[in-house]
Amino acid sequence: MDVIFWSRIQFAMTAAYHWLFVPLTLGLAFVMAIMETLYVVRKDDFWKKTAQFWMKLFAINFAVGIATGIILEFEFGTNWSNYSWFVGDMFGAPLAIEGILAFFMEATFFAVMFFGWDKVSKRFHLASTWLTGIGASISAYWILVANGWMQNPVGTTFNPETVRSEMTSAAAFWEVITNPVAVSKFCHAITSGWVTGGIFVVGVSAWYLLRNRHIEFAKKSMLIGAIVGLVGSGAVMLSGDSSGVHAAEFQPMKLAAAEGLQDGGNGAAFTIVPGIKVPKMLSILATHNPDGFVPGINDILNGYTDDEGNVVPSVAEKMAMGREALVALSIYRTTDDPSEKAEARYALEENVQYMGYGHLEKPEDVVPPVGVVFWSFRLMIGLGMLIALVLLLALIAVWKDKLGAWKWLLRAAVVCIPLAYICGQAGWIVAEVGRQPWTIQGLLPVNVAISSLSAGAVKTTFFIFLAIFTLFLAIEIRIMVSAIKKGPETIKE
């Protein structure tokens, strides 16, 4: 296994661990902010204690999210050196905004939220709780602007003088920050966090009800958790729909892999599981047209003509144009002859959109691991729908006062807590494994994005980080379970 493999596996592992902790932060932040708002508005100490209990669990989770987050940021540089240079100019402004607007907001107001109960006024404390959640969400937006750009690199110009992608105008900046892929990714990720936060609160409350403990606390927490989770579920479905349309438009190979679609066509069917298909459904999901054309893996490899008559070249043709671009770039950078330089620049500009393909060895390199993406996609959708159903039933049960009678629902809600995490991980596998081999779609494949390190060095750090993150996860689960077992009274240590 080479350095590319270990760099990929290290980044994937860090991102996967990070995403174990972030969704709960995003969701629980708003649950406890709503609870604290009820405390301030109704002047009812019950809500203060309730908010404080969930805040305790929030704090345990928040710390590990920060620990894994800093590794992710620095791994861009340590393990993906070429990538850092190539995208640095594009990510500069979004990262500056994230750092200045979001990071400090989160850090400052988290401390006030956690320690400030007896030190600042009620309203300042409430504002701090909301600002902690808002800061986390703003941070998510800007990092997903960066991620969205990697999936759909808009507003960029390749500069042969600097050998990188650059942003050259206000219009380009606007394109980057309103990139439709980034917007739908943000909505999808942030609202999936609400679902995770919601089902976590519902599940923990259900556990108390099953044991006949903290009944009022559990019922009221469940109501708020179910509402936040259901709003999140609805938004996840809507943003998931637009993610599908964007994948069809900008990353057709990812969609083809997610569907296991070898040969596409008009009126394509959606595969629920192998052997069970819904006619025309894939075309509806991908193009919002029952007869829309959806390319399959072979169509993309061999080239095709889309519904609007656009001819998409085969991967082999793109590779040939990419290699011409790389040769032209090399000549441009090394020649002193002005006419040769001008010719090279022209050839580069003609083929630059396929430059990334020039680094591939064979056309099949553009096909991601189909089985992994296919089954992750189904796992994500299946679990997402199950969780939405449980949240809906939990809301009905609270509303109709059926919680005592529907024990099966309470058990299902507890089981849904780990399922929400599996669902979130599956979603990111679809998004990130589905875009392989590209770090930046069409422009920079993983084999060119790396740092000049030995496989042994990266392998060593992979196992170090794996051991540390696993230790942290084990500790977090133990502390969290212990705090839950003790119940809301743990706030009076």
Binding site: W80, S81, G88, G92
Partner: protein
């Protein structure tokens, strides 16, 4: 706004963030007191809860410092982080444990015990300032790397920035001058930590102990700092001309001080303030030494960054291939990106204002033994 102005402006902000980061490393310095055998467990918890309300600011400043380098000087980010791999990984490891240590250390379910996480905080207290100082020290000694942008067209060896040895940054530990700066920072943050505790905690026994810490650290701090400074002023530096050609220049950093008198004044004022803060902490009953020492630290670090990058100087020199050295001209983002970030950076005073306000609100009541015994909201 010209490209040159924007590049200089962003180097200024990097310097400012660097200065704030070193100042905020009082958290690391204060955590070293967890190893003080004269402290009871309650007193150690007071120290933990005092730094526990600030550690996120230090952490966030580190993240923003890294992010600002990525955003404004991405060639440094890709060259140094991908090249000096082990130095940055060690630094990250120490910070990763710090991030969870506060929350986990006092929980019996934490698998490695109270001591385990407190030791992790102390390791971070030693290692973080030492590694940051040593890494910044290489801004003056040079590192073993080459930059070749055409490499990206070569499928067999596409990496633009390559490191020249397999130590990947650990070789800096053998560079005497760089290590001196690492040691300087370690003792400085230890002093800043003691001054912070003096200011933030109400406990006479703790005060007498941290007074002692300040006194103990003065001599090694001054020794390391003066040795580093003298070598800096007499050593050969890395100059860059208008055409971007890098060459060696004798007494380059001394010349930089003399040719930029404002930076020299900034440096001297900073040094005086640091010494004044230390004097207050060591030899008077004043509890405010952290403020002059903190402000002085920010000023001195900024001046150090200025002489590293301004006045035609390569801030990240390559001792393997002089022309691969990074300057604020050849390693920055494009003019447009720097300009967008310039407008964003105008929000910094607003951010600083709310941090100061929140900090002031939280610190109005100093930490007392009663607070740690009675409040449920603590580490």
């Amino acid at each position: 706004m010209s490209y040159t102005f924007l590049q200089n402006y962003w180097w200024f902000l990097i310097a400012l963030l660097g200065g704030l980061l070193v100042f905020l490393m009082f958290v690391q310095g204060a955590n070293l007191q967890l190893g003080n055998r004269q402290f009871s467990d309650l007193q150690k918890r007071m120290v933990l809860n005092s730094t526990g309300r600030k550690w996120e600011l230090t952490f966030t400043t580190l993240v923003t410092f890294g992010g600002a380098f990525f955003a404004s000087f991405p060639l440094f980010y890709s060259t140094s982080f991908g090249g000096a791999y082990w130095v940055w990984i060690l630094l990250l490891l120490s910070f990763v444990f710090q991030a969870v240590a506060y929350e986990f250390q006092n929980k019996k379910e934490n698998l490695i015990g109270v001591k385990g996480f407190r030791v992790a905080l102390m390791v971070n207290g030693f290692l973080a300032p030492f590694l940051v100082g040593t890494a910044v020290g290489t801004f003056f000694t040079g590192s073993d790397f080459t930059v070749n942008k055409v490499a990206i067209t070569d499928p067999s060896s596409p990496v633009i920035s390559t490191w020249g040895n397999n130590w990947h940054g650990l070789e800096a530990l053998g560079q005497f001058h760089a290590v001196l700066l690492g040691c300087t920072l370690m003792f400085l943050t230890c002093i800043l930590g003691a001054l912070y505790i003096l200011n933030n905690i109400d406990d006479k026994q703790i005060h007498s102990q941290v007074h002692r810490t300040v006194k103990l650290c003065i001599l090694p701090f001054l020794l390391f700092f003066l040795c580093w400074l003298v070598i800096l002023l007499v050593e050969v530096g890395y100059a860059v001309d208008e055409a971007g050609v890098v060459s060696l220049e004798k007494y380059k950093y001394l010349h930089n001080f003399l040719q930029m008198p404002a930076v020299l004044i900034l440096f001297l004022v900073g040094v005086v303030l640091v010494l004044w803060g230390i004097f207050q902490g060591a030899f008077t009953q004043s509890r405010g030494g952290i403020w002059p020492a903190g402000i002085g630290t920010v000023l001195v670090v900024m001046a150090v960054f200025f002489i590293a990058g301004y006045n035609g100087t390569a801030y990240y020199p390559s001792c393997t291939d002089l022309q691969s050295s990074l300057t604020i001209r050849n390693s920055s983002s494009s003019q447009f990106t720097l300009q967008v970030m310039f407008w964003v950076s105008l929000l910094i005073p607003f951010v600083l204002a709310y941090i100061v306000y929140a900090w002031h609100q939280m610190d109005k009541k100093k930490i007392t033994p009663d607070e740690i015994s009675d409040t449920p909201h603590k580490y």
